[in-house]
């Protein structure tokens, strides 16, 4: 697949301005086979290799980052979650995502003050003909427009049910018990983002999958990967725009292209993007080969997303006032880049996790008290080892 999604790219400014993915984009995506890249043939996909997936993802991200997020959260992240935790009964769902017939959201975060799962309230209850779900999910990619939501919820367990406390519920969103709302956001404006309120909404019996909490982390790393590639794509687009601008622009008889200050900005961006892309390909290759690659993808998410903010900032500097004028692509990249940092897992949460996996043990919380620093060795600080696994800190939803 070597498309550059030219149509989608040509509409990117408009797509951002109207904060909505136009129907032509969906058509172009379906025809390109993009959704199917991430799934094997028997699930309706084309089973592309890692390099092809990464290349197509970057191409779509470059064409329109909002469209990319929407499409890839559905096909890659939700598709893989359903394929991983579901069974044959859910193949039709995967197929619907792999062909682009349906759009999915991954509903985790709630409105509660805490961003940790222990504060989450959404509950799945058994009723006569299956299950009902009640609760509110917020700051969820695709929530306002998705057909189906892969929803994290607690299970009401009957006596004797020793199964996991948590489940993934595949919830049809076009039903009376579901209300949805949009949240306007700084970047990735075309990406639908918002909340889902479940009020005794129905879930088929087959679509409630008890899952141990810790296991979900593996599935979620698909999300980190997709965010990282969004960041690489946005950075590359910003760099490309900077190169074009520098080539065209003359200031005082000095073409920007011949200024060492501009060279420094372009070169630093090039080196940083290269570093991220090489890591992205390595990580994706591991992942597609069936390995976890969680740390590698975590590292990638931290670096690539913060790098892209830096690169888009340089692009704004190179463009001057053009770069902050609405409708200029660089203005859009600048807003989009920051979304990737806070989206999915916030980068600092991932740093915590990486440190833990380096062998430092789980995060330890000790209330700050600078005035009594001299705790003698025999009276260790009253540290609390957090019991919730530290990977589980989704700051913003997908």
């Amino acid at each position: 697949m070597t498309t550059t999604f030219a149509g989608i790219a040509s509409r990117a400014t408009q797509t951002d301005a109207t904060a909505s993915v136009p129907v032509e984009n969906w058509q172009e995506l379906k025809e390109s086979g993009y959704f199917g890249l991430f799934h094997p043939e028997h699930l309706g996909g084309s089973g592309a290799d890692a390099a092809t997936q990464v290349q197509a993802m970057e191409a779509l991200g470059r064409a329109c980052s909002g469209t990319y997020w929407t499409a890839t959260v559905s096909a890659l992240l939700c598709g893989n979650l359903i394929a991983t935790y579901g069974d044959e009964r859910h193949h039709h769902l995967v197929r619907a995502l792999a062909t682009g017939e349906k759009l999915a959201a991954f509903a985790i975060v709630e409105t509660a003050a805490g961003s940790d799962a222990s504060t989450y309230q959404t509950l799945v209850r058994r009723t006569g003909g299956g299950y009902t779900i009640t609760g509110e999910k917020s700051r969820i990619t695709n929530a306002p427009r998705a057909d189906i939501a892969v929803t994290l919820a607690r299970r009401e367990r009957a006596a004797g049910d020793d199964g996991p406390e948590w489940c993934l519920a595949f919830v049809e969103l076009d039903q009376p018990g579901v209300r949805r709302y949009e949240i306007p956001h700084m970047g990735l404006r075309a990406m639908p983002w918002g909340g889902i309120v479940y009020t005794d909404a129905h879930v088929d019996e087959a679509n409630v999958i008890p899952v141990p909490f810790t296991e979900l982390a593996e599935g979620m790393t698909w999300g980190w990967l997709l965010v990282s590639i969004a960041a690489v794509a946005t950075a590359e687009s910003a760099l490309a725009a900077s190169v074009r601008h520098a080539s065209e622009r003359v200031s005082f008889g000095r073409p920007l292209a011949h200024m060492e200050g501009v060279h420094a900005q372009l070169a630093d961006s090039r080196a940083q993007i290269d570093a991220a892309r090489v890591l992205a390909l390595r990580a994706a290759t591991e992942r597609v080969a069936g390995n976890s690659a969680k740390d590698l993808i975590g590292m990638l998410k931290v670096y690539a997303t913060e790098m892209a903010v830096e690169v888009t900032q340089r692009a704004v500097q190179i463009h001057g006032a053009f770069g902050v004028t609405e409708g200029h692509e660089v203005e859009r990249h600048y807003r989009d880049a920051q979304m990737n940092v806070v989206g999915a897992f916030a980068t600092n949460r991932l740093r915590e996790q990486l440190a833990e996996n380096l062998g430092l043990g789980p995060a330890v919380y000790r209330p700050f008290d600078w005035l009594t620093p001299s705790a003698a060795p025999e009276s260790p600080p009253k540290a609390t080892i957090t019991t919730t696994p530290s990977w589980w800190i989704p700051y913003a939803g997908y």
């Binding site: 760099l239 070169a267 290269d274 890591l279 740093r351 990486l354 380096l358 060795p377």
Partner: protein, 354 residues
């Protein structure tokens, strides 16, 4: 068979214990060098990727970037151009025994030519001076780039005992376990046999190869240094206390360690990527080699800075030497002031760069 594990193990056991002392005394330990050198045969016995891996393991195990630079100069920077552009006679003469070659690191890094060349009846006469000649005092031969009156340049391989060639030992502040010299050429006569590659063709042959080799292969030991620093930093965070609490409990320290790990992972990936191009058919693109080198410079600075903050006032022996030596690595002619225009020039389609 060479393996990175074996090189790392040997370097750790043979060289690490004496690294600080050899550094302090500027000591050149030839048996050690021979025990730890890597084969000069990449493209043959070893791939470029494997060679980079060995150089990284050597520096990681030994904690000695000076020694690793000496090995890199001998096994890669001098031998690979000979293997690529040398005549059968040259290859026979310089590659068949263990004798060392020397090279001015200024000549690999875009500095203005400081040696002039003119033709005479018997061949060529070279005059000028070369600074920062790695392995200088130990070298049996030197690679030298000279400039003709018309601005074109030719590469030569000169025996150390060529009349008119004078070597002087110098003592730069950094990378002290590598022997350094300054070479002065006073109307130095050489025959046509000394020409490496085409007369006047260095700019298209030896020079770009040397530059790319320098950017990629002198970075490799720094990957080893970065790994050694990361290991040390992890140990520091595990054991050091601040405010009566383990540093491992500090979120800031944890973040710093995570960032060090990330920088190392990125550097390793870029190095592999750049080295792999030497295993392909064509010369690596200047842009990719320069980009890897630019990233290494910034990674080295960031990791050392971060490790120093974690280590606290005591610092560490490795940290201090790495800190000092990294100045040389990141600010030499191959530093950002050369790399950035090269990369940007390629992006902008200027200067014939790709």
């Amino acid at each position: 068979m060479y393996s990175t594990e074996r090189v790392r193990y040997l370097a750790r056991n043979l060289a690490r214990g004496t690294a600080a002392d050899r550094d302090r005394r500027r000591e050149w330990d030839e048996p050690l060098f021979k025990a730890l050198t890597v084969p000069d045969t990449f493209g043959g016995e070893l791939t470029a990727v494997q060679t980079c891996g060995l150089l990284a393991a050597l520096a990681e195990g030994s904690h000695d970037p000076g020694l690793a630079l000496a090995v890199t100069t001998s096994a890669v920077l001098t031998k690979h151009p000979l293997r690529t552009f040398g005549t059968p006679a040259q290859r026979e003469r310089y590659l068949q025994d263990e004798s060392l070659g020397g090279l001015s690191l200024q000549q690999t890094r875009g500095m203005a030519a400081t040696v002039s060349v003119r033709a005479d009846d018997a061949g060529w006469r070279l005059s000028g001076a070369l600074d920062l000649v790695a392995l200088g005092p130990k070298a049996r031969y030197f690679l030298v780039l000279g400039e003709h009156d018309d601005g074109s340049r030719t590469a030569f391989v000169l025996d150390a005992d060529t009349p008119g060639l004078r070597l002087e030992e110098i003592e730069p502040a950094a990378l002290r376990t590598c022997p350094w010299g300054r070479v002065t050429l006073v109307d130095c006569q050489v025959s046509s046999d000394a020409v490496l590659g085409t007369v006047g063709g260095a700019a298209g042959e030896v020079e770009p190869l040397l530059t790319a080799l320098d950017w990629v292969f002198t970075s490799a030991p720094w990957l080893g240094v970065l790994r050694a620093l990361a290991e040390e930093a992890l140990e520091t965070v595990r054991t050091r206390e601040v405010f009566g609490a383990p540093l491992a409990h500090s979120q800031a320290a944890r973040f710093a360690l995570a960032d060090i790990a990330i920088q190392n992972e990125l550097a390793a990936g870029l190095l592999d990527h750049a080295a792999a191009q030497f295993d392909g058919a064509a010369l690596p693109s200047h842009q990719d080699a320069a980009s890897a080198r630019l990233f290494f410079g910034s990674a080295v600075r960031a990791v050392i800075d971060s490790a120093a903050q974690l280590a606290g006032p005591g610092g560490s022996e490795l940290l201090e030497r790495a800190h000092r030596d990294s100045l040389f690595f990141t600010s030499s002619g191959g530093g950002a002031e050369v790399l950035r225009p090269v990369i940007a020039g390629a992006l902008l389609g200027l200067g014939g760069l790709k």
